[in-house]
Amino acid sequence: MRRAAPPAEVVEAIREHESGPGSLNAFLAVADPSDLRAPGIRGPLESVPLAVKDNLATLLLPTTCGSRVLEGYRSPFEATAVRRAREAGAVVVGKTNMDEFGMGSSTENSAYGPTRNPHDRARVPGGSSGGSAAAIAAGLVPVALGSDTGGSVRQPAAFCGVVGLKPTYGRVSRYGLVAYASSLDQVGTLGRTVGDAARLLGVIAGHDPRDATSVKRAVPDFETAVGRGVEGLVVGIPREYVTDGLDAGIRALIDRAADTLVDGGADVREVSLPNTRHAIPSYYVIAPAEASSNLSRYDGVRYGLRVAEDDLVSMYERTRSRGLGLEVKRRIMLGTYALSAGYYDQYYGTAQRARRLITRDFARVFADSVDVLLTPTSPTPAFSLGERTADPIEMYLSDVFTVTANLAGIPAVSVPIGRVQGLPVGGQLLSGWWQEERMLAAAGALEAAGLGERA
């Protein structure tokens, strides 16, 4: 990791930036300089300033998830990923803005105002980890933690021209990650470089007895894998992701990335994942269904906002209606409907079957000697603020290439592969379960070729 400025200077720079006229609104809370005593820890992240998405519990700073219902909430415990990063020497310099509870693809659904894209302030940084991606792109921090339920680390990384990594489901403990859709949620890392994101992953990965979904499995040396090269690697390009309808500029960048991998000695071939078309409809049944259950806890009883009323049910309803934002309510309604008597099998059951078909598609190509898949991260570069807020479906479609990795539980990483109309474009590399090293080797090769800096 390139040597970063000392955390105290970083905090000062963030404060100055966030209070200035050109503020990106990337941070919801910034550390107090008096809390930045050098931890004196020698480790792989020694004195590295770390930004943390606001849905990961931190002890010193509030954890609001971008929601009014948790305004000012201070967690009484710390997320395992944050603790492990601190124990490796990282210093938490702030909490980053996000779509409320992770529900969104633009960071416009934050109750505390949208984050702006440092490459063009009229555009969104992507989401839901938009604050983390923007903070890195603006040069405020070298690495950040995010969470990825349907692309929330990878899509903002692509929009902001940084690296975003979602590991295999079960690789990182979610203890202290505020739940959105538990069968899909995974903590991810963002960095200026593939190596930085990989190093942070290496630190936070591994079994945690406090999260039953974290798996007992050795953690490989991810950072070394980044420089391994792609000689002999079999790379598949799924035809369902690179269609005639894809933006011509993005398609050309994918072709160039594929050529780069061939130059490095990889064998690139076309593959098919025929059930990809089911991904968005099944995701937008499964995620809201789980959200409607997970978010029932925001009822004004134990923590967070309470709107006083004379009876209990009115208190629940008023508290939730005032504390939760429009998109969150929309998804709770959708999920409640999909799980309600008489509709459960039609929606939830069918979506689960579609999920299985998508998972089998991946299992088949990876069993058929493909090591890594290459796709665009998002069908378009960063869109303008307000451009997609009127139509939920328009917004949901920006996740079309990323949700499949969450549905199947496989790892994926977005790496800058060039620019279209001056805006960064991300290439997504996916590998089989627990094979992060392979996708990191491919991402490292694209980065080393300097594709991200070129038009």
């Binding site: 909430y73 201070r74 009484p76 415990f77 006083a308 009115s314 208190m315 998972t359």
Partner: protein, 109 residues
Amino acid sequence: MSVGREQAERIAHLARLRFEDDELTTITEELNHILEHVEALREVGSTGDEGTTAEDLGDAAAASAAATRDEDADHPDTLVRPLDSFAPDWREGFFVVPPLPGTQGSDGA
């Protein structure tokens, strides 16, 4: 299949959400718009197994599918700040809430 206003009201009640009249109209329209897209799943069919088995995924994924809670799982962290530091209303070791609708509060009884 489309959701009517009355049904949307019932879903809102199940979800413990309350909408103003115009909000309910909007959210009903949006739900129907989203459900139209979800209808595409029909071709997946209504038979077959749900969920993914270890055989589908091969050995590498089996470890993930087989993950279960440890017998010796740690207890959660000790809280660094007490419950009453963030509870909306807390008295004598209890979270205090208003009475159920239609019942008399027993406050102070």
